[in-house]
Each structure stands twice: as structure tokens, then as C-alpha cells.
Symmetry: C2
Subunit: 232 residues, 2 copies
Amino acid sequence: MEKPAVILLSGGLDSATTGAIARAEGFRLHALSVDYGQRHRFELEAAARVAKALDVERHVVVKVDLAVFGGSALTDEIEVPKDRPDEQMSQDIPVTYVPARNTVMLSLALAHAETLGAADIFIGVNAVDYSGYPDCRSEFIEAFSRLANLATKAGVEGRANFQIHTPLIELTKGQIIRRGVELGVDYGLTHTCYDPNPAGISCGRCDACQLRLAGFEEAGVVDPLEYQRKAE
Amino acid sequence: MEKPAVILLSGGLDSATTGAIARAEGFRLHALSVDYGQRHRFELEAAARVAKALDVERHVVVKVDLAVFGGSALTDEIEVPKDRPDEQMSQDIPVTYVPARNTVMLSLALAHAETLGAADIFIGVNAVDYSGYPDCRSEFIEAFSRLANLATKAGVEGRANFQIHTPLIELTKGQIIRRGVELGVDYGLTHTCYDPNPAGISCGRCDACQLRLAGFEEAGVVDPLEYQRKAE
């Protein structure tokens, strides 16, 4: 019998690939998307499309208004940086960092998993292209796994040994895309841009679009998405 | 200058006392209440009253609909147990346990703290009277502190050393109440009952009311709250 797992689905390229990997490993998926006050709805629409393509048991969207705290260009009125050169993108923690985002997301995934009787949680974090985000590193993920087993009835009673799966953590964007293409992921369903136009068309210039486009180039695959203007 | 701290304020007796202790230790408080789909609004109203009495800088209420996951009598249509004898209350993890609740709450407090530039978080967990809840134990709190310092920009950059303060963790309910009375806490502002009537009057019979009433008795103090019927 297939084991249940919770997958955090943002609607982006990474979580879509993570979902395909989890399916290929034989898990029955329960998708969880967190509506944390993102500035646009396109991400959640993409998450719903990807969930359907992954044939999940159920797709739950939890609203958590992280914008009440402020502090990030993704939830706040801070301007999204555009056309940044590579060197600058890989330095510093960018203003698009949402405080404690993965901690909040994994906590919610843990609550969902415990209720379902699932012990496996998949998250598409990646330490290579997002080296600036502290909560994308394996030290963080290991600390969260430890916490999960202390935090829950199922963990404490020994009924579950929670595991946080991060199949992309050591992959480059190009490797992620190649793996996804092998598994039949339709990247046309995903959404990546931090700053799409009102019709949902990606800008092609924010850090996220630049990383995505560079990844497709590295993978030697054509990105099926349309862009307002592709970065050089 | 007073240091800022985030305090998780439920509106109950424990968090009101924790707030008074944090104030007495010289912290400037930012109160955070989590509306996780509780079955009644009286808790949040009590939290607002307590926040005002604590003279907090700001009181933020974050909504997170944990009820979408199901699995607890506090968010679900499971019946709240009444008139349980002491032995039964201290055994087993009760159905009023909300999956991963303190993990979710502390994650949100961490997001808030990081945004504010605060490194101190107060939570009124108590291992004595809630021995059945895994996320009220010090092992859990220590694991969360470790996580917090790995999860955040401020922690990783060494600008903050996050600390989770749990001043009540080893106290009995009676000791908590005596400490609160010394600090001038008005327990008439708090709300404890899991199952109040439509006017907000406490039942006096659920586990929470029973623990509260026993605590006031132990402290030798009269509970200022009104009850529908006090347990024997």
C-alpha cells in the first residue's frame, strides 16, 4: 500500500518537481499550499493546477496572513529588485526573504501530517540557488525533523518517525528541471515570477525569473512559459 | 532601554501571568494572538483585554485556520469531555490537543520577532498540569530555540540569539496564580473554558475549568470568574 505524505506545494517549479519525485517514490500525496499574503494570486492558481496534475488525494490551502508582520518584498510594499547581476543575487539575504517562512510552512505541514497519520513531509527547498535563505539549508531541515518528533503525539508515542524530505536540496536549477522533465512534469503549469503583470505574465527580470530562465538554459530545455521580457 | 519581546497571548490565565512576568523582567511587549479556528471568540476577546492591561506596544492577531486539518475537539465537532476524574485527565493526550499547535504558534511568534528585531519570545506553556501535551515539555522548547537560531536571517547572521522563555513550565497551577496575584494580574480579564455558553460564561466542568478551579483552590485565592456550575 502507498504511504501517505504531505507535500508543500507553492505552484513553483521546485515544488512541482518535488511532487513528481514523491509520486515516483510511491507516496500517496496530500498537497498543502500556504496562502501567506503573497502579493498575487497566480502562485495559488498554479499550485491548484500542479496538484491536479500530481493526482493528489486532497489539496488544502491554509491562509496565514504573514503580511501583518511586514518585512518582506513578497508580502509588503517593498519594491521587488529587478535585473540584478548574478554576483549580487548570490550575496546577501534578499529582501524577498519572508521571515521564518519555511518554519511556518513546515509547522503547518506537520499539523496536517499528524492529523492524517502521515510521517513524511516533502518540501522543495534548495540550498544551491537560494544560498541566501537560512531556512533552505540542511542544518535547518535536520533541526526541524528533530523538533517534529518531539512536538507531536504521534512522534512522542513512537507511532510516527517524522521525516522531512528535501530531494532538491543539493541540485542546481538545471538538474532540477532535467529531473522533472524525465518524470513528465509540465512546467507550463507552474508560476515562478515575483512580480507578474495583472494578466499573470511573468516579468522575466526579477531574481526568481532570472534563476528560472538560467536553469532552463542550463538544462537545455525550452521554458514553456510566456514572459513580458526575458533577461539577457 | 527596555528590550522588545514577543508574547503569545491566548487570553488564558497562563499567558496573562507570563505577560506580567515578562513586564516585571523589563521587556517591552508585542502581543501575538493566534486565531487558529477556536470554536468560540471569547478567548480572543480575553486576549485583547489582557494585552491592554499589560500595556503592550501592539497586539497582532494572526488567523490560521487549523480547523481545515481537523483532529481536535477545540477546532472540530468532537465533543469536549466533561466532569472527568483527575486520574483520567492526567493520563493520555486529551482530544482537546490541537496537532502541532505550539509549533505553529512559536513559528508565527518567530516570524513576528524577526521582523521586529526582537530575540525574546515568551510562551505560557506548563509541563505540570498539561503533562499529556508533547509540545509543553522543555525538550520541545529547547529544540525550538535551536531551530529558531538556524531558521532566521538574524540568528544566522549572529544579530540575534533567540530565546524561548517559559517562566511557568515547572510551576503548578496554584503557584502560577500566586505569582500572578503578586504581580497584580486581574484574572477576571482572562478566559479558560473550552466550552462556554453563548454568553461566554464558563462551564466549570471541562478539563480546563476543572484545572483552573483546582488551581485557585490550591492558591487560596477566589477566582473572580463566574461559572455556570462549578465542578465538585
